[in-house]
Structure formats: structure tokens, C-alpha cells
Assembly symmetry: C2
Homo-oligomer: 218 residues x 2
Amino acid sequence: MGIQVYGFWRSIASFRVRAALRLKGLPFEETSIDILSGEQFKPDYEAINVERVVPTFIHDGHSIFQSLAIIEYLDDIQPEPRLVPANPKERAYARALALVTVADAHPLVTPRVRNHLADTFGADAKAIEQWGRHWTTEGLATYERLLTQRAPAPFALGVEPGLADICIAGHVITGQYVKLGLNAFPAVAALSDRLFAIPAFASSHPYEQPDFKATAKH
Amino acid sequence: MGIQVYGFWRSIASFRVRAALRLKGLPFEETSIDILSGEQFKPDYEAINVERVVPTFIHDGHSIFQSLAIIEYLDDIQPEPRLVPANPKERAYARALALVTVADAHPLVTPRVRNHLADTFGADAKAIEQWGRHWTTEGLATYERLLTQRAPAPFALGVEPGLADICIAGHVITGQYVKLGLNAFPAVAALSDRLFAIPAFASSHPYEQPDFKATAKH
């Protein structure tokens, strides 16, 4: 049986899983769950994903949620090309780079948080964009310091792109959403240019997804 | 050379690393970095942790940040007792359970977010506590649904406590910070009772740390 992904064009976590699958050369079908309109909260989807988030990955009838867990699973079931290095110290560094956005920066700018800021503090669109810029800048600045301390060669962990690169690329897309330029982050910008020159990254970008293109036509 | 941790009593990520080290039986020394007063932003500490967060783990002169990366590293350097299961599907489930709080619920209630809510929206202590309760409740409700779908036996992944249990226990502590009872979450409450009966968990609780006890004396 094939691989099925429930995702959404705008979801950065969905981008991560798409890019990982394409780096592995694993074909998949993606079903769009519109998290902007709240489709993830419908009972049909909750039966698929108890946390009510995207993405969900289904393979041979087995379901996995959380993008990092999915990407690590891909390495477990098809080790080559590796997305997480084999060396323990390098594995730890790859995961730490990933978690800068997965555990620190990105959770603060998801739709449920933007909605809650509006509901709780009456934040308007401008205030919510400022909020998004603040936390996205924090993440970019952290990546800039890290990539300056240990320069990509040419990718974050070495000669092949992997988990860390996928997560950094996702954070760069978050920056595009809140109209942040990368001028202040030259090391991130250079890595991002290299990554989005790779078809697996470029074709996984939110604006290349069929559900985005369908929306943009309206 | 021994293991050195830079942490803080109140930090849930520091709790996770402490509990993991104790489950492994690995001795360590912890240095307190007061993240409530902003000690993590001082140049001395930035030289240790470029992201300016706790915890930092140092072993044989090698430094690792991000609690999940540290815990996975412990499994790599000392496989027994395993904190992440060996089976790929079980590993994925353990990581997904961990990420419910690490990537979704917990990042929203850290000091830097509480401070930014006050600075940006003028949120007072009551509004900030309400914010914390909202996101902590979301995480507890997700855990309750997950633990109802697959009951702990007796721990989240089976007969031994591991990564998922550590992260769920940390989320329960977050609930204590914002004075949330567990009455609405009986499966979480039952698992939490089992976990905090284990010395590795009980002795790692924030209120058992020397830097908390020093503060409480003032």
C-alpha cells in the first residue's frame, strides 16, 4: 500500500514531511485539510488524528502524527538517503537545529495561536503580523548564530541535505508569510538559496501545492 | 569526565533532562541559570548555549541543547534502559506523544512568551495565567484522548517509563504552575500518579530542586 499524507498547503509541518518524502524518493498522495477554516476539528478528521493537527502520515494502515516523528520514522523504514546522521553527536546537533523552530519559534505563529490572540486580546491583523514577525525573527537570529558558529558545508550537517535543513527551510517560509527579508541573516539566506534549488524542497513549498493554487484562483 | 547540566528549577525542559538522566542512572551536576531574571541572555551563557535557552547538556567537553535531542543522545550513548523504544512504530508513537507538549503546548507558556504578552498586549498577571491555562488544558485534553485510545500498560509505551512519560509528566507540572486540577483528565492523572511514585521523576520535580528551595527561603 502507498503512503497517504493529510496536510495543508500553508502548514509548515506539512512542508517538512513533503520535503522529507521527496528527498527519500518515496511517492505519496496528499489530502488537503483546511486548517484555516477549522477542518481539523471535524469528527471525521479527529478519527484520523486525535491531536487534530496536520500532518498525519499513513503507511500500510499505520498512522503517525507530528512531523519530527514522521521524518525519524522514514529514516527507520528506509535508511538511505539518511535525513538524521548516524553519528550520535551529529544526530543530536541535527535534532537540536530542527527543534529551534519545531519546539521554540514555529509553535507561536500557528493559526490556533493567531486566532487565540484575536479572541483573547482583541489583536488585529497588524498586531498579529507583528507577533509573528517577532518570533520568526527570534528563530532566524538563532539560526544565523548557529550557522555562523558552524558553517554549512554546504548543508547544515554536511554534504547531504537532511532533517535540520528541512526545518530551517520551513522557518524561512514562515519568514515569507510575515514578509521578513533575510538581509540580516546572510548565512540563513545562503543555505536557503541552496535548499530551494533542490527539486524536493522547491516542489514542496506551500505556494506550489494544488490546494494553494485552487485557493488563489478564487 | 562527568555530565554537567545548565538548567533551572522552573524549566520543564530541564525537568525532562533530569528525569531522563536519573532513569538511566547517570550522575550529573546541575548549574542554575535563572531564566526568570534573564540570566540566559548574558554573554557568559550565550557562549555555552547559542540559543540562550536551558537546558544545556555537556559530556566529555561536548555540548548539546534542546531537551529532546539530549534525551535521544542519552539512548545513543547508553542504550539501557531504553527511553525511546527499539521498534520503529513504537519509536514514532513515543516521539509523537513527546511532541504534543514539546512542539505544541509547552512553547506557548514559557517566560519569554509570558513577558512578550505583557509587553505587547499589556496582559496582566491574571490574563497571562488564563493564557497558560488555555494552552495547558489543550495539551492535557490531547493526552487524555490519546491515553484513552491506547491505555498505559502501565506506562505510555509499556512496562518501562520512557521519553513519552517524561514529557507527559512535565506537562502535568505545567498544569500545577497554572493551578489546573486533573479531574477532567483521569487517564493522565492515573499515569501521573504512577510516574511521580518513581524516584527519578519525584526527585526531578521543580519544587525539589536546590535553586527553588533557595528562592523559597527569601
